[in-house]
Amino acid sequence: MAKSQEQLQQRRSLSSLIYDPQFRSYAFQILLLVVLVGFGWWIVQNTIANLQAQNKTTGFDFLDSTAGFDIGFSLIPYSRASTYLDVFYVGILNTLLVAITGIVLATMLGFVIGIARLSSNWIIARLATIYIEVIRNLPLLLQLFFWYFAVLKSMPSVRDSLEIIGGSVYLNNRGLYLPDPNPNDAFMWVQIAVVLVLIGGFFLQRWSIRRVEETGQRFPYIPVFIGLLIVVPTLTWFVTGAALDVNYPELNRFNFQGGIQLPPEFVALLFGLVIYTAAFIAEIVRAGIVSVSSGQTEAAQSLGLKDRDRLNLVVIPQAMRVIVPPLTSQYLNLTKNSSLAVAIGYPDIVNVFMGTALNQSGKAVEVIFMTMAVYLTFSLLTSIIMNWYNARIALTER
């Protein structure tokens, strides 16, 4: 009797084990782990076998060997004799250059168009809508091809360059020529002054906020800050005798001399990225502004706030809460989209490292791993910053 009771107990515990959610969850996870590890091991084995069959070695030693090819545009000194590691750095810097310039310009254009779409002026609002609907619904690659092959390649030749802003900026089929500021040694003091004013402005803002909270008296810190930003560096300029020898591009017999020369690939890529991303940013801005309910505006008006205070203190802070998260993901998109540079030949990381360096060295696994790691880093950094910002501006409910 007692024995059968025990048996029953045992059987029940066995059958109940299958229905035990805890046990099932562990079993399933272990199964998944086994499958994943098995799959990974299979891939690694295949890769090793394939590489051996092709007589290829693995490892990151190739980074120190000479690359032996030219790169058309580089921010750091680079020559044929440089190593693959230099190629990697040149690629990252070129990607960052086009991404950061693009982010700044796209934000400006996007905000203007987003606000224009909400304008009470019928024509302006319609034009902004047309811009957004046309640009958003066309592939970026098509737009880049258009800017590069159809527009920039049909620009006039060097002799008949387009002159923009009274002979300091030139555009032709070899690129964009900008004046190059050449600071002397004393100019360093002006730069220090700007940095000091910026730091001072930060503390000024905190102080003025504290003053408003304590006494209710407002301090016009934005005009004061802008005033300081103009006055202090200008004074330093004259006191220290700083000078900027601007080096204008000049047409010689065959090409322009002096100034900064931006290759057409960069100009086309920047144009394409800015125009494309601005359309998305405009929609984000519009959605953000619309999301602030009209009750907020009415409440601000009934409190007697002036129009400017209403915008600065009520509408914009609430709109920014809606705008910033998707805006950062657009910034990330722009950075990722800059990899389309490979299609028009701008030497970004995908083009020079994942393209040329991979083909020459044959180190497919290492190169692709490194390139993906770069983008993964950008993405993680962006999301860390975004999470920090979101936590800062999140609605604190009391």
Binding site: S25, F28, Q29, L32, L33, L36, I43, N46, T47, A49, N50, L51, A53, S119, S120, N121, W122, I123, I124, L127, E133, V134, R136, N137, L138, P139, L140, L141, L142, F145, F146, F149, A150, S154, K336, N337, S339, L340, V342, A343, V350, M354, L358, A364, V365, I368, T371, M372, Y375, L376, F378, S379, L380
Partner: protein, 375 residues
């Protein structure tokens, strides 16, 4: 007090008509175009812009455009606009790539069946959607492989190197959606799972693919896939691109579906538990039908992004719509100043019609779905 009032009006006087400046065209213009000085200035600038661009565009696209020509001579004439004759000449190449002329009916049949099924699936309130879904997600891929590739049922084989044009664009986009939707649902459920290992594997997969640009994924698929497979396996070029696109799109789809799962009130989950449903039943019967319905606009939007992104496969050497257009821009017999521009305009028009149509549909669904779900 006397009641002597000279005159008392007993009925209301008729309303005066509003001033001319407040109604009709004039009123509308005063309100919307010339309400104050900055507004007037903006209107004038915008009008000047339109006067400058619209006639130029019209002349380029229609006025001075060349519609019928044997070769590029009329397009090379000074002042000639878009060279539409060139697009007409290469039209078949843009749509079917190198697919043999005599077999065009095969892709056509696949396109028509796919279009019918999609219309049925996307049209709200039609019955038998389940059947259509099965046909679309299982039947159509089989039909497409049999018809497009051939080699069976007496159809001559057409290898994938001959596929091209809009056909490839549509194939890649469709495969992307057919593969990514179910896998995306699985990953989204995995990301919200209680099991830590499942959760972190899902997160790692999703975030890895979302962090890198599609072009690196395509490069990876075309360079690394042959390495990953057992020695001696050869893998088709289009198939490599498809694997890359599917992996990439799955990660995005998972995030869209997760949005829908998170939007469901917690009560729905609790109610399904209280009814005693197990995990799969509660997902299949309660959670997913509601969550997926919520995210139809999101799914369509991510499909628009996918459709635009298919153009990237031209970088890894496939001839999609943009690839074929780009390949013919250097055709010598049609050499003309606006040859490339005309080709791009044609591709742009096709892409735009598809994407704009889809975005309107997504907005329509958003409005439709919005009604019952105010919380």
């Amino acid at each position: 007090m006397s009641n002597k009032v000279a005159y008392v009006r007993t009925e209301m006087a008729p309303d005066m008509p509003p001033p001319v400046t407040q109604t009709g065209v004039v009123g509308w213009m005063r309100k919307n175009l010339f309400s104050d000085i900055p507004n007037t200035l903006m209107t004038l600038v915008a009008l000047a812009f339109l006067v400058w661009t619209v006639p130029t565009l019209f002349n380029f696209l229609i006025g001075n455009a060349v519609f019928i020509a044997e070769d590029g001579t009329p397009c090379r004439a000074p002042g000639a606009g878009a060279c539409w004759a060139y697009v007409a000449d290469r039209f078949d190449f843009y749509i079917y790539g190198f697919y043999p002329d005599s077999e065009y009916w095969r892709p056509n049949v696949v396109f028509i069946v796919a279009a019918l099924l999609i219309t049925h699936l996307l049209w709200p309130d039609l019955p038998y959607k389940g059947l259509s879904a099965i046909a679309f997600f299982i039947g159509l891929p089989i039909l497409a492989i049999i018809l497009l590739n051939g080699g069976s049922f007496g159809l001559p084989q057409v290898t994938t190197e001959k596929w091209g044009g809009l056909m490839v664009t549509l194939i890649i986009a469709s495969v992307g959606i057919v593969v990514s939707l179910p896998l995306g649902v699985v990953l989204a459920l995995g990301r919200r799972s209680q099991m830590p290992f499942v959760k972190y594997v899902s997160i790692a997969f999703i975030e890895l693919w979302r962090a890198v640009p599609l072009i690196t994924v395509l490069f990876m698929a075309s360079v690394m896939l042959p390495l990953f497979l057992p020695e001696g396996t050869s893998i088709d070029k289009i198939l490599r691109a498809l694997v890359g696109v599917a992996l990439f799109q799955t990660a995005y789809m998972a995030e869209v579906v997760r949005g829908g799962l998170q939007a469901l009130p917690k009560g729905q989950y609790e109610a399904s538990h209280a009814l005693g449903l197990n995990y799969f039943k509660s997902m299949y019967l309660i959670i997913l039908p509601q969550a997926l319905k919520h995210v139809i606009p999101g799914i369509v939007n991510s499909f628009i992004a996918l459709f635009k992104d298919t153009s990237l496969v031209s970088i890894v050497g496939l001839f999609d719509l943009l690839g074929t257009v780009q390949a013919t821009t250097s055709a010598v017999e049609w050499k003309a100043p606006h040859q490339a521009t005309t080709g791009y305009l044609f591709a742009a028009a096709i892409f735009w019609v598809f994407c704009f149509g889809m975005s309107r549909y997504s907005m329509y669904m958003e409005r439709r779905l919005d009604t019952g779900h105010k919380e």
